[in-house]
């Protein structure tokens, strides 16, 4: 896509074009400089680091179960591909489920807390108190309560992920301009109408920033739960590989987690972009 815009026949639309025929060239070189700076440069640094890692491990004769070379990890990914994919599927699905539940729960809780002052006074301190508990420490408790099935892992993911959605949604709902509310009240709008027509759309950017945090937290929750109780999933695979001192497999699983996390986060960011197009300025 980037290279297409750099070819002469696909000159982009004149945006802030300087005078004369030199303009498109200047523009193109600006675009290619952007590409070089933001894509080429970081890629180059990553490649360089991998090369340093590879060379260092080989030169210093580091044992493979301490730190395998990138090439060894790559080989391990190829070998264990079906195993990795099999374990990636439940982790991904459970993360998505946790995320969706956390988002719905978070928005509903925030809506209730901001709509009813007394409910807020009564329950908000409890919500904050729960947030202050080191929640990872509660993971074994969830196993006790919910057993070792997928439900326990999803619930734990929700438990860890919903709070940021609550806080940011509340901030968004409270940030509705006072005059917009006056306008609605002046027209005799009821609370539900005000919520749907004005407050919620105004809160959307805040909700999405909470959702982005929730997505990463949901994944952490699911993996921690997998460490404890699962018979499948990348968290389980990591624990299993660690018992075998299979460091290459651990790092391969972590790489998988990174890619999955990136894709899921990207999906939320895309949804945010679409929502901003609909509901943004």
């Amino acid at each position: 896509m980037k290279s297409a815009t750099m070819s002469p026949e696909a000159t982009p639309a004149p945006v802030a074009r300087p005078r004369g025929a030199a303009a498109p060239v200047a523009f193109r070189s600006y675009r290619s400089r952007q590409f070089a700076e933001h894509v080429l440069l970081p890629t180059l640094v990553i490649v360089l680091l991998l090369v340093v890692w590879e060379v260092a491990v080989r030169a210093l004769n580091v044992p493979e179960n301490l730190l395998p070379a990138p090439s060894v990890i790559g080989q391990r990914i190829v070998d264990a591909w079906p195993n990795l994919v099999d374990n990636a599927i439940p982790t991904t699905l459970q993360t998505i489920e946790s995320f969706i539940l956390a988002t719905v729960m978070g928005v509903v809780i925030a809506a209730v807390l901001t709509s009813f002052r007394l409910v807020n006074s009564a329950f908000y301190p409890i919500v904050v108190f729960f947030q202050l508990i080191p929640k990872v420490a509660l993971a074994p408790l969830f196993v006790v309560w919910m057993g070792i099935g997928a439900a326990a892992r999803i619930e734990f993911g929700v438990f860890i992920a919903f709070f940021p959605v609550v806080v940011s949604t509340m901030a968004g709902l409270r940030g509705t301009p006072a005059d917009a509310l006056r306008l609605c009240k002046g027209l005799g709008a009821n609370r539900l109408q005000i919520f749907g027509l004005v407050r919620l759309p105004y809160a959307l950017p805040h909700i999405f920033s909470g959702m982005k945090v929730a997505m990463t937290l949901a994944m952490i929750g699911v993996i921690v739960a997998e460490f404890i109780s699962a018979q499948a999933g990348l968290g389980y695979l990591i624990v299993f590989a660690s018992s075998q001192a299979d460091t290459a497999l651990i790092l391969a699983a972590i790489l998988f987690l990174c890619v999955i996390g990136l894709v899921l986060y990207g999906a939320v960011a895309l949804a945010e972009k679409a929502a901003t197009r609909l509901y943004g300025a």
Binding site: P177, L183, G186, L187, G188, V198, P201, A281
Partner: protein, 287 residues
């Protein structure tokens, strides 16, 4: 008796009857250091079709007064009456315009104008024509499908006025609608509002701290001071309608502005006791 009075007047002539009346209206807030009197015992009456400005320095309680008249805030004391009925709460028959245009950024201009229709669940098709006509009148015919962010501040405020007029309310209330705009845009908006007024002739309540604006636009000006937050004078603006913006150049216009400025400065500089005395005097002379 009411019916008799209505029958007695010939239908075509516009015999003034009060659209809005306030009688000893006060508003007291619970402040950190005891009660704060935001509006103290304000009385006035506004006739049908009259455009009245409430003029005063910032912090004199004129916005609070408008919120109470709009039914968005209860009065602590006193009575407010609209067309013979006591004002008990908000009603869609009042078009509201605020200092900020308060357009919903995700709606197109036309959807913003039709927002009251949507809230009241009235048939959109029935009001679409009117909305388009209003936008045309406001010089925004080509901007119906734009988003508010694509418009200038003056254009946004014009959209807000269209929105306030879309239900054809008999009463329009504006709370410093142009004070967030630059001076040149503000002058343009005054001319635009003069135009709109000429075409629609509703009852208007216009809150402002600009003397020129008040004199140019109004039939009558109620002067408010800060201490006490009360109306100290009721000034008739003698200029005939339709008005051209050219009247600002006339000596009569300047003289009226100066006299109003002196009244406001007197109220502004006076300490509470003096202001009270001044109010007592003005009440005495009125009687």
């Amino acid at each position: 008796m009411e019916a008799e009075r209505l029958n007695a007047q010939p239908p075509a002539t516009v015999r003034p009857r009060p659209h809005l009346e306030a009688w000893k209206v006060s508003k007291v807030y619970a402040g950190k250091r005891g009660p704060v009197e935001a509006v103290s015992s304000v009385s006035f009456s506004i006739q049908e079709g009259e455009f009245v400005s409430i003029l005063g320095p910032s912090g004199c309680g004129k916005s609070t007064l408008m919120m109470m008249l709009a039914g968005l805030e209860p009065a602590t004391d006193g009575v407010m009456i609209e067309r013979g009925r006591e004002i008990a709460g908000p009603r869609p028959e009042v078009g509201l315009v605020f200092q900020d245009a308060t357009l919903l950024p995700w709606l197109s201009v036309i959807d913003n104008v039709l927002f009251p229709v949507r809230v009241l669940k009235r048939p959109r098709a029935q009001y679409r024509e009117r909305a388009l006509a209003l936008l045309k009148m406001a010089g925004l015919a080509d901007f119906g499908n734009h988003r508010p962010a694509q418009l200038s501040g003056g254009m946004r405020q014009r959209v807000a006025i269209c929105r306030a007029l879309v239900l054809d309310p008999p009463l329009l209330m504006m709370d410093e609608p142009f004070s967030a705009l630059d001076a040149i845009t503000r002058d343009e908006m005054n001319v635009a509002l003069l135009d709109i007024w000429q075409q629609h002739r509703k009852t208007g309540v216009f809150i402002t701290h600009s003397i020129r604006e008040a004199v140019l636009l109004s039939d009558r000006i109620l002067v408010m001071t800060r201490r006490p937050s009360s109306i100290v004078n009721d000034v008739k603006v003698p200029f005939a309608r339709p008005r051209s913006p050219g009247i600002v150049e006339t000596p009569a216009f300047t003289a009226l502005c100066n006299s109003l400025r002196q009244q406001i400065e007197a109220g502004y500089a006076a300490d509470p006791d003096n202001a009270l005395r001044a109010q007592a005097n003005s009440v005495a002379t009125a009687e």
